[in-house]
Structures are given as C-alpha cells and as structure tokens.
Symmetry: C2
C-alpha cells in the first residue's frame, strides 16, 4: 500500500481493528549526558511534535497496546512502564487536525472514527537511552529525543500530559526502580546524584545524598573506575536489584 491508501484504510476501517474513543499516549523518559529527555514524534498530520501514541486492538489488553507502541518507537522489549492518569477533557478531538491532514494528502472523506473524541490513558516509561533506536511511525516525519526543559508546543493537550507524567515520576521516585531503569548497568555516584537532581529539578547536597543512598544498601561498589575523567576518577557502582526492590516495597524511606 502507498501512503495515501494506507491512511485512507486507517481512517475508513481502523475501527474494525481498534476500540473507539480510547487511545494510549506514552511518555518515554531517557537519561543522557545529565539530561532528562523525552521521545517525541513530528506528526505529519499536525506539522507539530506529539507524544508517541496509538490505539487498542479489539482483543488486546491496554498494557499490551502500550508495550506494542513502545516497542515500535524504541525497538525495546521489557520496558518499565506505568499507567498514571486518564485524560478526558471534552475538547480532545482531532477532527480539525485530521480533516486538514486528509485534505493536504488528497484524501476526501465524509466521516471517520478518527474524527471522534478520544479519551487517552497516559503511560510513562523508563528506558536506557543508549539502547534506544528511535523509529518514526507512518504518520510522522521524525522521532527524536528532547530535553524536558526545551519541549516545543505539542499537539492537543500533550504538554499537559507530559507535565503530569513528570509530576507523577517525581512522586514515584521512592516507590519504583527508576534509577535502575534509566541508568546503564554501571554508573558513578555523581551520575546517580545527577539523575535524582534532574528528575526532582533541584540540587542535592552531595554528602547527604551519598549517606542516604548508601544507607539503603541498594548499591554495590565495583573495583573499576571511570576512565577519561580529569582528576580523581570515580568508582563505578551497580544496583543490587534484590535489595533495591525490597527497599522500594515500603517506599525507600528517605527524604532527599
């Protein structure tokens, strides 16, 4: 199928494959060079950036739909993801955007399930930045990482969704293995501290941070030091996953 046939088919027949009026949006967080990043798509249909998202197949669990979308955009399986909020303002309709999109694509159509209002379930996901190969979907020109401090104006309420995801991520910092999922297998203490600082959006006292993190017993110090650092090369650490998950069960129990 060519592009025109593909979108015509999706707009005319998609409701036979997918549930109506409900969609999924994914906020995919990555951490790289001391920046918290989020993966966005450049949506052809809007000429604007948007969160990756999609629809739920008629016989598919919603979590599976989210995993499928994440796999398509990142190439990764087994991503840590968390359903966090449902977005349902009455003006969540893409009718205007979609009508314009079809017109410029040379497709003429009276009605479509895609003109309806969609209630969207937000999932945030944590990925190892170094392992992701971003892939655009058929409705997008590009799939790229953005620093969370320089997010452009997104379509619909996607800026609100992203903001809410960030707030939820912060609130969950002591209840989910966020460090484990966002960092490479081995990391230095300055890198771990920077991750916490970036998510919380404030600086932390170094000695206090180290005392509290080491106090939880969730880190294993390796013999290896980081190469190529100016002076006093820091040691690598890794998480003791069993202890980490045990500590998380009741919340980490430390205020940073």
């Amino acid at each position: 199928m060519g592009f025109k046939e593909e979108i015509t088919d999706h707009f005319l027949n998609g409701h036979q494959k997918y549930l109506r009026n409900i969609s999924v949006d994914c906020i995919i967080f990555g951490f790289h060079e001391n920046e918290l990043k989020v993966l966005l798509l450049n949506a052809k249909y809007a000429g604007q950036w948007a969160l990756p998202g999609g629809f739920i197949e008629k016989e598919e669990h919603m979590d599976e739909a989210a995993k499928r979308i994440l796999k398509q955009r990142t190439g990764l399986d087994d991503i840590f993801l968390q359903q966090f909020h449902v977005f349902s303002t009455p003006d969540r309709s893409t009718k205007k955007i979609n009508t314009q999109f079809l017109k410029t694509s040379g497709v003429s159509m009276e009605g479509s399930w895609m003109f309806d209002r969609f209630i969207s379930v937000g999932y945030w996901a944590l990925v190892d930045f170094t392992k992701v190969k971003p892939v655009a979907d058929v409705f997008s020109d590009a799939c790229e990482w953005f620093n969370i401090h320089t997010i452009p104006e997104l379509i619909l309420d996607h800026n609100d969704i992203l903001q809410k995801a960030l707030e939820n991520l912060r609130a969950q910092l002591n209840y989910h293995p966020i460090g484990y999922n966002l960092l490479p297998e081995k990391f230095t203490m300055p890198e771990l501290q920077k991750l916490y600082e970036t998510i919380l959006d404030r600086t932390l006292d170094r000695r206090n941070f180290q005392r509290k993190i080491f106090g939880t017993g969730i880190l294993k110090k390796l013999e290896e030091t980081k190469k190529g650092v100016a002076h006093k090369a820091p040691y690598y650490h890794k998480f003791d996953l069993r202890k980490y998950q045990k500590a998380l069960k009741g919340g980490m129990g430390f205020e940073l």
Copy 2:
C-alpha cells in the same frame, strides 16, 4: 417510556449519546458503626451485585460523568473522588450477560454498542454514610451498603476492581483527607482510630496512635463529650481542615 422501551432505546441508540468502549465504575466507601462499607447495586441484567457505574456522554469530562453517577446513586454533590486505575482485560465484555438480559426482557436485537468490550476507569469515592440515600438505577433492583468483609461475588471483574480500590485507598491514607470525608463533622478519638484500623485492616496501639495524630496538629478538641457511653465519656473532636490539608501536602509523615 416503559421499561422495555427504555432498555430497547438504550441498547439501540445509546452510542449516539455516550462514548463507545469506555465506561466508569465507582467504588463508594462509607464508614458506619465501625465498619468500612461499599455501595453495591443488584443488577437485574445479571442477577448479581455490581459496582455502580455508567458511561461518558459525548461532550462530558470523565470526572463529571463519575460525579453524575455518584449523585444519582447517593443524592450527594461535592463528593471526594479519586481516579485510581484503568481496567482493560480483553474479556471485559457484557455481551453474554446482556443478550440473556434482553431475552428475558422480551427484547430481540441483532447487534448493540452494549455488546462490545468496555475498558473501565475506576474511581473511589468517600462519603459521609449518614447523608447517603441509596438509589437504584433503571437496570437494578436494589442499591445497598455491604461490609467490605462480606462482599458477594460481583459481575465481571468487579471484585478485582474493588480489591484494587481498597489497596489504593490504603496507600493514599496519608495523602488525602480520608478521615475528613468519611467521618461526620464531630467524632471521638476511638472512632477515628477505628476508621484507620478498618481501612488498614489491623489494630493500632491506642497511645501511639493518639500521640502521632495529635502531633500533626490537625485535630481540634471540642468541649462536648459523647452521650450514652458506659463510662468516661470521650470528648468530640473535629478536623482543622486548613492544617489537615497542609499536613497532607507532603504526606502526613507518620507511620502508623
């Protein structure tokens, strides 16, 4: 419209009024005579008890739909409610139940939006038991309070939804004004402790509980004592709402 006409209209034309494939289920918690209770409907269409629920109108915010449903079942406005989880297993279809229901109601129908699978968003709500006048809906024979320890087998996955709501309520006990919403305006310390014990499903040490609760400064002691108590009548207390909400902002910060 008679009952038969009403259900025929709902099954044939309801999708013109409501969004498809998505519904709302409400877990309405009340506290009475030291028991945590939940409001259930006896569903005609299933011959079983069910959580109160409903659909979202085409131009309605989902939170407003939940409020509308709560108002219809309890008679109350301004109910404290919390969206907590989306339920989306692929087998959430009421086709079998609904087909049987139509048959026994003498209605014959080939297809209906009501035969589709519904993804359901769960809301828990906290109400002042003494103010609720339970009202059944057109699809139900009765609307009654059940002790959470003696819940019958509910339709579909409603037992799972209720269980998840309870877990979420427990986890949120220190982050939401749960006591304020479930208790009458004035209450005794034994009543407050019993509320916490009932939600947490374990006993608490009386002196420890009182020390911690008083330590938060959220209670005001009244001059009035409770009448009709065998010996040593306990004083009434009420919440200082401003201090309560301030304390909740960062979590109450006490482990019970």
